[in-house]
């Protein structure tokens, strides 16, 4: 895991002491990140054993301060308990900004609005990370490094309240993104909740398959169905909280599915549909949102000499560029062979220089 970046001491001074309420994987990992940055953190959990384990992982102290002393309270309980806990903590900690880590924001806000509390000190947030595990035992300080942490500020929040939550995210090494509450819920329905359900649908369909067919499963279906193995109890809460946005996504897919069934007999239209999927997958870019770079093609002449190809492969291998695709073309007129090498655009010049240096002919 990438280590935490160094903290700005002003970030620390402006938000400690911090209280974390709910010390599962997320709460305990936030605690571990903050304490390793030198922030004073206190822990509370409905289940004392959970808080004890979190403290054992280095997430903070079990002792509690006077309720008025906290500057930031992070509510990281299971989704169903978030709104009530935030309301309670707004009442108990008059000097604190209260944030939460729930992955659906509208439901929490609606429930809070029914309490008629002043919500100017509540700033919603959603750290987008997690592992296959739950509970504080697998908490690590690096869980949020380079991950997206959405903050959902509202007009009634003061700039200082919002900034306190952004500092929290920065201290955990995350990249902050600000979104309107409702827009956040649409975005997570698109990029997280719908994919989860598509994985579930794919995996559920295997109930119709004979057991003897399963050995034919390769890497593809394993990738598609990996997240279908997630905890059903947690997803039940998330999907229920975000069902208007989830329903809209499922309806869109239902239309596409009908279109797809309709074009199965028309290879050209089918391929256009496949291309639309390919474009969508590529729009996600590289790991953790790094833009997928464009590629360019470098064409090298294959000389008519014994062993030429073997030497050519060896020279390309030694430069160590990441090859996206390879193909061989044959020029009938000149009876010459060419090797087309598709590489990241930023590395193409390196590859060209390297090939020239090693006496290979390039086609410009």
């Amino acid at each position: 895991m990438t280590p935490l970046p160094p903290a700005d001491p002003r970030d620390i001074a402006s938000l400690e002491p911090v209280l974390i309420v709910g010390t599962g994987l997320i709460g305990a990992s936030i605690g571990c990140a903050l304490t390793s940055q030198g922030v004073e953190v206190h822990l509370w959990d409905l289940d004392p054993a959970n808080a004890m384990v979190a403290a054992g992982r280095g997430a903070g102290m079990l002792s509690q301060l006077d309720p008025g002393d906290y500057r930031l309270v992070v509510v990281a309980t299971p989704p169903g308990a978030v709104a009530a806990t935030v309301a309670e903590r707004l009442r108990w900690h008059p000097s604190a900004v209260v944030t939460d880590t729930a992955s659906v924001k509208s439901a929490v806000l609606s429930a809070l609005r029914e309490t008629e509390l002043d919500l100017s000190r509540y700033v919603g947030s959603h750290p987008m990370s997690g592992t296959q595990y739950t509970g504080p035992l697998t908490a690590v300080p690096e869980l949020f490094v380079d991950r997206t942490w959405v903050v959902t500020p509202r007009h009634e929040n003061s700039a200082e309240s919002v900034e306190r939550v952004r500092r929290l995210a920065r201290l955990c090494g995350a990249r902050t993104v600000s979104l309107d509450t409702r827009e956040h819920d649409t975005a997570v329905a698109e990029v997280s909740h719908l994919p989860q359900l598509m994985s579930i649908l794919t995996a559920a369909n295997l109930r119709h398959a004979q057991r003897s067919h399963l050995p034919l499963a390769g890497g593809g279906i394993r990738d598609v169905t990996r997240i279908a193995q997630s905890q059903t109890g947690m997803w039940r809460q998330i999907l229920t909280a975000n069902r208007p946005a989830v329903r809209e996504q499922l309806s869109q897919v239902r239309e596409d599915l009908d279109t797809l069934i309709g074009v199965l007999d028309n290879p050209d239209e089918l391929e256009s549909f496949l291309a639309m999927g390919r474009a969508g997958a590529r729009s996600l870019g590289g790991k953790h949102g790094k833009e997928m770079s464009e590629t360019t093609t470098v064409v090298v002449e294959i000389p008519d000499q014994p062993g030429a190809l073997a030497r050519l492969f060896a020279d390309i291998d030694r430069l160590g560029v990441n090859i996206e695709d390879l193909s061989v073309e044959h020029d009938q007129a000149r009876d010459a062979g060419f090797l087309s090498i598709e590489v990241d655009r930023t590395r193409a010049d390196d590859l060209r220089a390297w090939m020239r240096e090693h006496h290979w002919g390039l086609r410009s």
Copy 2:
């Protein structure tokens, strides 16, 4: 990659010399595997540059024998050309068993039946492997090691013909599975073609998403949409060839999708649906079809000593068992903590012995 297993000399003697027709990634990799096992392999490709590259990778010789000398001909052309090429080779090579590597078998067989050739020497097969690349440049002898290679024998085939194709698969290090032609196509629709289209549908749906939402994409959607990036031209051919089975799978999913939309407002029914997906994903088992083993729980008492948890984690880490899940329980009556560790059933006794050896108390 796992190296090729040693070959049985009788396997080699009974099928060489081999002719590979179509030296793309699959044909060239079969050639590389066979030559590295000591089998005499000859190569042919419509594009001489392709065959030249395959020979350069060690897939076999470019020289051709007398057509009557070959004992096994492997047709590994693009899907659209398989049936015509198999027919042609059955005519040209009277002593050879002819097999192909197409990923849909009914379409090939139907086309061959229209030729009114004697098909007793044709045995269909489908080596289930591949990479993101195409073409012979990335061919490797280990491509099929521990992968499934489906053979689709028919009544008219002699036992010796079928066995020759099974030997081919064994020499490439693959595990053979025999399936009826139509059943094979149903099975690949279930475990490969449907997941491909579910990945496409998930990725295509991103066209509705605002660009500013994409940074929220995490590992889940990347897993689900990874295969949507595959070559659209190849999938157009595969899906078109298998469209009756693919249509049936899509219709099943369409019904499930309607069910899912219907249960969104009912958390219990929603969770049952999610559980059906989870069971499906788990039915696939581990990597490359290795049965997903059942887990069992080992419970260790957490002593009431400072640093006990840290020492406990360290001791578990050192044994290096793969931990499937962890949780802490608290015994209110005894005021004691317990750590539940879920591990592969085959490793549970090791873990228990190890923990006892390191003086930890176990709850039986």
